[in-house]
């Protein structure tokens, strides 16, 4: 199917790459269908693009890239809501805010976007941990990471989310395929 986007033009999206956020994202409850765009640029930023509103696209990034010790503790109810039995196919992203002064970019660690890629469902989950910031500045860490790995393109998908079930027995996800790469060359 063809999807119009303001940032990436018209994209051909495989219907199986569309992820349903049944509750939308906070403040965007009416947009429920998204897909992930990897523009393949040097920033390592992906985009959660709405299929229903061409203007709505959230820049997202895997938090492990700039915060290797990031741990998201999901409650059993969160896992059930995502039809997650195991975490093998779960992907976790932070939503980014990128102001005109790009060095002040920040990531929302408090409410990551979690995607079950095999069931194609996603949810923005508000974590209970009160120490996590909604606006965590991370430009410096991202720059260091990119400086270290700029020649290693494989790294962009090698980072896997680490989700731990409280008191549970689930282990961090093993490598799983990236969700979609739909941008035409």
């Amino acid at each position: 199917m063809k999807v119009k986007t303001t940032r990436f033009g018209e994209l051909e999206v495989n219907p199986t790459d569309i992820i349903t956020f049944s509750e939308g994202l906070l403040g965007f409850e009416n947009s429920k269908k998204y897909f992930v765009v990897d523009p393949g640029d040097s920033t390592l930023i992906l985009w959660l693009q709405s299929t229903e509103d061409e203007k709505i696209a959230f820049p997202i990034i895997e938090p492990k890239i700039f915060k290797p010790d990031y741990m998201a503790k999901l409650l059993p109810a969160d896992l059930n809501g995502l039809e997650l039995e195991s975490l093998q196919t779960a992907k976790l992203y932070s939503v980014l805010t990128i102001p005109a002064n790009v060095t002040e970019m920040s990531a929302n660690l408090k409410a990551p976007v979690v995607i079950n890629s095999s069931k194609r469902v996603g949810k923005q989950i508000v974590l209970q941990d009160s120490k996590l910031s909604v606006k965590h500045e991370m430009y410096k860490e991202l720059k260091v990471y990119i400086g270290n790995f700029s020649s290693d393109d494989a790294r962009r998908t090698s980072y896997e989310p680490s989700i731990t079930l409280e008191g549970g027995d689930l282990k961090p996800a093993a490598a799983s395929p990236s969700i979609s790469r739909t941008l035409e060359a």
């Binding site: 906070l26 403040g27 965007f28 820049p59 939503v95 790009v102 408090k110 720059k143 409280e166």
Partner: protein
């Protein structure tokens, strides 16, 4: 909205498994204790507002800024 009056130390039960207790009253501040199952999500309302604001700001990301960010990140 249901409105109930409670005194210090009194509580409200919601369903069979959630209990809210008035722990302290000090001027305009009320301290509440909440007993609920582990899977119940409890947040201050402001947390949701802050996340909504962050999402709203996030979708305003401009491709020109992203391009500039890409350049900045590449600089030694």
């Amino acid at each position: 909205m249901l409105v109930l009056t409670r005194k210090l130390g009194e509580s409200i039960a919601i369903d069979d498994n959630i209990k809210i207790v008035v722990v302290q009253i000090k001027g305009k501040q009320v301290r509440l204790g909440i007993k609920a199952p582990k899977e119940t999500k409890i947040h201050r309302e402001e947390v949701y507002q802050a996340i909504q604001d962050q999402n709203t700001e996030a979708v305003q990301a401009d491709m020109a800024d992203i391009a500039r960010l890409g350049e900045e990140l590449k600089k030694k």
